[in-house]
Structures are given as C-alpha cells and as structure tokens.
C-alpha cells in the first residue's frame, strides 16, 4: 500500500492531506489537522468577563467572530440586550470580517490556482498577460478596505476590542465613518471587476480540468437568517440532502440535538455531521439557502449564480464564486449601515452605545455567522469563573465534506498504472474551496 502525504498552503493553519492507495484503488483520503493549543482547557477557571479579550486569540483570521461570539454568549448568560446602535456597529464588524476574509480567500488563496502561480504576489510576473498588472494591487487594496472597516468598528483589525458586554466601548467617529464611505464607494466597482475576472477564470479552469469537483448532494448549514442575510447570527438552518426547501431551524442552544461531533485518531480537529449525513457550511451553504441578498449588485450576482448553477448547487468550486457574491454584498451592506447611522445622527462618540448589566452565573450560547459558517460559543459560568467552555467551529462542520471531496479527487487522478501529478494541485484546490481554518478547528 502506498501512502501519499500532501502539505497544504494558501490556507490558514497547519494541516496535511494523506491519501492511501492500494493497487490503484484509493483506500482513504484523510484531512489531518496537526496543531493544537487547547483553548477549551486553558480558559478554565479564568474570569468569564475576560473571554472577549482572550478568545479572539484562537485565530487571527477569524478573531472578530470569536470576539463577538464571546460577548454574545456572556450577554445570553447575564440577560443583557445591547442598544440598537451597538448592534449596528457589531454588524459592521462582522461585515468587515466578511469582506476581508472573502477577498483573502478569493485573491490570495485561490486566484493563483486559476492562473498557475504560487502566490498572488508573483501573479503579475508569472500569470498570463491578460491578468492586468494592477490586479494584484487592487486585490490587496480591496482586502484592506475590509481590515479598515474592522478597525473602525472594532478598534483593531486583528483581535478587536470594542465589543463589550452591554454594547460597545465607543461609537463610530464621524471622520472615520465618512472616510470609510469613500473607501467603500471606491471598492465596489473594483471588487465587482475583480470578481467578474475571477468568475471567467473559474469557468476557464473548470473547462480545462473537465470538472468542478465533488458535486454530490450534501446538507447545508447556516445562521444568516431567513429574510435578508444577517451575519451577526440568527438561528441555525439546515437544508436537507434532498434539497427540499423544508429546512430544520433551531437555536444555537439546541445544537447537540442536531449535530454530532466525533474525534479522529489522526487529527486534532473533530468532525461534525447532521443525522449522519455529509454537511457543508461556509459561502455555498449561505448562497444555497439565500432567496435574496437585498443589495442591488449582490442580488444581480445571486440571480446569475442560481440561474447558471441551480439552487441548491453542489460542485465545490462554487464555494469560491459564492464568496464573490458575499464580497460585493459586504461592501454594499456596510455602506447602507454607515449611511443610515450618519443620516440619523448616530455617529458620534457620545451616542448611547452601552447599557449597564449585572454579571451572574449560568450557562449560555452565542452564535455568529463567521465567514466559514455558524460559530457557536458555549460557556458555563460558576462563581464568575469559566467552569466549561466549548467552541463549535464552522470548519469542523466541513471536515467530512472535505474528506469526501478529497476522495473524489483522488479517485479521479489515481489509476492502476499511475498517480497523476495533477493530484497534488487538485488536493490544494479542493481544500481551498472550503477555505478551512485550522487554528479555529483545533483551537
């Protein structure tokens, strides 16, 4: 039996893919997460009110999601409702993260696959000429608009600080808000152009490869809500494998009734499944469940997507295109919120951004829709200290689906005579389409 190990790159964290082959038959395809820090254990005994500072360090890519989820969990335990303007600011935080993350995944992580480069940075020298020289600069700038938005709403773009129990530490300052509006206005057409080029490049790649990857049906899970998408997190919805419109809807508190988590001997990350079926989270789950985005350009792309690929659509390369729709949405929606806050005089430092609260013991759940899917924090607080903490990570919902897609790819490129070199590239593409985050998945 031969064992092939593929190192991974252009994704967050430490992981590798191990494929076992016997006489030309793929025996297994495993995704191995190889790092572990132990957050569920290391926060034990710490004061519950310190979680919003500590848990963002689970992941620098997704720190915003953990920061907001921690605050929401404590608010659930203490029974606090933050004022509306604070909720708007937190939604901006989540949109900043969505914008930043989708730009990173589209341009830094997966664009190089479409033009055969090793990184975005050498795309200009190595890619085909039609890739305009300023693609690289534009891609990085659009991504930075996302990080600037997080900084505006969160104080810091990595490990933000502004969300606190009861609200936010301070409102938006008007100078920053106006500057942000200009940046977003600049970014919208540029991001659309980049996405259009990306869409074309993806079609060309699909054509060249003769496949869009694993396209068997799966269940989809998201928490952006039923009406207009809300990345601040609502209830969980699951679209069953049969693609029926009937969705299972449940609050974060009930996740254990629906989702089964299991450990693996070869990985520091657990895997979840829904009623023993393969489940998917992340962009494609949201786009498969979305009827509309409720912003003009994003709705245009959504219609085009559903018309071209159906609803639900299953091929894994469509995760990438779904990210582009969300990139455009994040820019449009952030603008809407900022305009609304400015027009209603809610942008100034002294706005009522926080309500008082009294801490108490108890158990609670906090849910946000992170770029990779629904993120749930669950804490039990005794004597003001963390007695139990669980982090239910979106990437973990995708791991079974990743392994299934890896197997599909391996079976395509392994024959009785040989293993095609293309397998190494295919493994990278498969994994990146799910945009997994290993620091989060193992925490």
């Amino acid at each position: 039996m031969a064992t092939l190990t593929f190192p991974l790159s252009r994704m967050e964290g430490h992981a590798q893919v191990v494929v076992e082959i016997s006489r030309g038959t793929v025996v297994s395809a495993h995704f191995q997460a190889t790092e572990y820090r132990g957050f569920e254990l290391l926060v034990l005994g710490g004061p519950a009110e310190q979680m919003p500072v500590i848990v963002p360090r689970i992941c620098g890519v997704c720190s915003t999601a953990h920061h907001v989820a921690a605050v929401k969990t404590l608010e659930a335990i203490y029974g606090v409702t933050p004022p509306p303007v604070a909720l708007k600011i937190r939604e901006l935080l989540m949109l900043g993260q969505l914008l930043q993350n989708q730009a990173t995944s589209l341009f830094i992580f997966t664009m190089p696959d479409r033009v055969g480069a090793e990184s975005l940075y050498d795309l200009a020298e190595r890619g085909p000429e039609e890739v305009a020289a300023d693609t690289v600069a534009h891609a990085l700038q659009v991504r930075q608009v996302g990080t600037h938005l997080i900084t505006l709403a969160g104080g810091q773009f990595i490990h933000p600080v502004k969300a606190v129990v009861g609200g936010v530490t301070s409102g938006l300052d008007s100078e920053g808000a106006l500057k942000m509006l200009d940046e977003l206005a600049w970014a919208l057409p540029i991001a659309s152009e980049l996405f259009d080029a990306y869409w074309e490049a993806s079609l060309a790649m699909g054509e060249r490869l003769g496949t869009w990857g694993d396209d068997a049906p799966a269940c989809y899970i998201t928490s952006v809500g039923g009406e207009r998408p809300n990345y601040y997190g609502d209830v969980l919805r699951v679209l069953g494998c049969d693609g029926e419109e009937v969705c299972t809807i449940f609050p974060a508190d009930d996740y254990q009734q629906y989702l089964i988590e299991e450990e693996a001997e070869y990985s520091y990350a657990r895997k979840t499944s829904y009623q023993n079926q393969v489940m998917r989270a992340n962009s494609l789950a949201r786009i498969n469940l979305a009827q509309h985005m409720d912003t003009p350009r994003a709705d245009g792309y959504l219609t085009r997507f559903h018309e071209a690929f159906g609803q639900p659509a299953h091929a894994i390369m469509l995760f990438d295109l779904a990210r582009g729709i969300e990139l455009v949405y994040a820019i449009e929606r952030a603008r809407e919120i900022l305009v609304e806050l400015l027009d209603t005089g809610q942008v100034d430092d002294r706005a009522d951004v926080k309500v008082p609260y009294t801490p108490r013991d108890g158990e609670g759940y906090g849910l946000v829709e992170a770029p990779r899917g629904p993120l749930i924090h669950h804490y039990r607080v005794e004597m003001g200290k963390i007695a139990q903490a669980e982090f239910i990570i979106p990437t973990v919902h995708n791991l079974a689906a990743i392994e299934r897609a890896l197997r599909v790819a391996a079976e395509r490129y392994v024959t009785a005579e040989s293993v095609a070199l293309e397998l190494e590239l295919a493994v990278g593409r498969v994994v990146r389409s799910f945009d997994p985050c290993i620091a989060c998945a193992t925490h």
Partner: protein
Amino acid sequence: MKRFAVVQLSGCAGCDVSLVNADAWVDEYKLVYMPLVVSTHDIPEVDILLITGGVRNDEDVYKLRHAVKRAQMVVAVGTCAISGGVANLGDRDEVREVFLAHHQPHLAPRLLPKCHPVDNYVSPDLYLSGCPPTPELFMAVLMEDQDFQASRIVCQECERSKLRDMRPTHLMGFQQGQVDSEICLINQGYLCIGSSTRGGCRAPCPRAGHPCVACRGPSDVFIEKDSEVWFGSIKRVFDSMTSVPSDEIEAGLRSPQLALFLFQFSDYAGDDRAARSREKMF
C-alpha cells in the same frame, strides 16, 4: 532583491495576517516562503526569517531548527514566539493536569508538556513584540526604516488626558461602565497598562475606549529586569492616580487577560537563561 520567509509555529496566524496588511515590502523583497499565502513547501536561503507562534509540539521544534539554518537574520515575532503566548495559559497550576490528561490523537504531532518561546531553541537577532505587531511595525523592521519613530510608552501615543482630581476607588473590569472618550482610562477606573508598555503601536486600544493590555511588553527600562519590577512600577502609577486598594490591582494584573502579556518578557520560562537584551527589542 532581498528575500524573506515566514515560519508559522503554533499560534493564531494573527501575526501573519498583520504582515499581509503591511505591503510596502512588495517592491523591495521577494517573499519566498510563507505557507499562509505562498505555495512553496521548503525554505530556501533567506536574508530575513520571521518566526511567529510558540513551540507547542515536536513538529514546531523541527521546523524551527530547520528554518534558522537558512537565515541571515532571525526575528521572533509576537507574544507567542516571545513567550509562548496565550497557549501558556494552559500552564497554570489549575489547568496543567487536565491538559496533560487530554486525549491526543496518536497519528498527529506530539504535544510538549508546555508551550515554549522560540529562544528556548534558537537565538533570535531581534524581537518584534505585539499581539500582533501592527503592519507599521512590520514595515519598520523589514524596511529598516530610519524615519520610524516610536514613543517610549503607549501613554504618549494615546490622546486621553490625565486628571488630578478624578480618583477611582475600585477597578471596573474591562466590560463594565460607559467609557468617556477624552479622559485617561486610569482616571475612569480601568486597569490600563499603557503607562509602562512599549510604544510603537499608536495606542489603538485606549483610543477605541479599551484598556491597553500591554501586548507590546514592557518599555525599555523594564526589559532586562524581572516582571516584579515592572509590576511594582504599574502599582506605583495606580497608587499615585487612584485610591484602588493594591491587592485589587495585584489580582487584576495576575488575571489571565493581563498575565498573558505581563509575563511575556523577563522571566517567562523561569530557567536560568539570561534576560533578553534591550538592544534586540523592536
């Protein structure tokens, strides 16, 4: 063109993401190895090697030793590389046993009993502190920017004004209270460490209304001394500006969200290793 590489050990990738935001190096350097953004699986010879994350497992040890051999200059970046960082909260007495008893998948890298700073294994030429360091700090290091000016302490980069006649009697915790936007957070009862934390980050946290947790580590005067000296100085600031009982301050400083950063420099490992020199701090 000069070449640089980034090796990520066990951390959160925040340092790496911050570096991605610092793009002025694009014209001066070729980034030859950084798995987060580049698909190259081996480290070639480089002028500068940045190391992020702490040493948590046997694979980290190997990667670290393997990488430094190929570098002219080695920079330890971020709290995790400098002290082990947040993963070291698992080394508290209350947690250590549960931790060691935790299930370990036997086909994945083996965990070490605790998370180590990188200088337990190799000798960095420079330490760039911050959790994470800001993009501006990364650029100042990579570009050897002579014009870069950092203040001695975070307080000097924060525009809040200190008042003489506003003396809190108790600490607020970080979550409580309405934060006034002009007045020093210490006057408002927050355990902000900006008065002795090294500057250079431009004080984003206190500017946004959140206490500085000292992620940049101690200012130059305290670098070569052990943490008790630093603690003593923080307590003196609070004695002169507040009427908060000193045991309350002490407990606050030793609680996880601050201990994480306050122990990062001088005496982290508790071994006999000499103090890191202040010349090596950025």
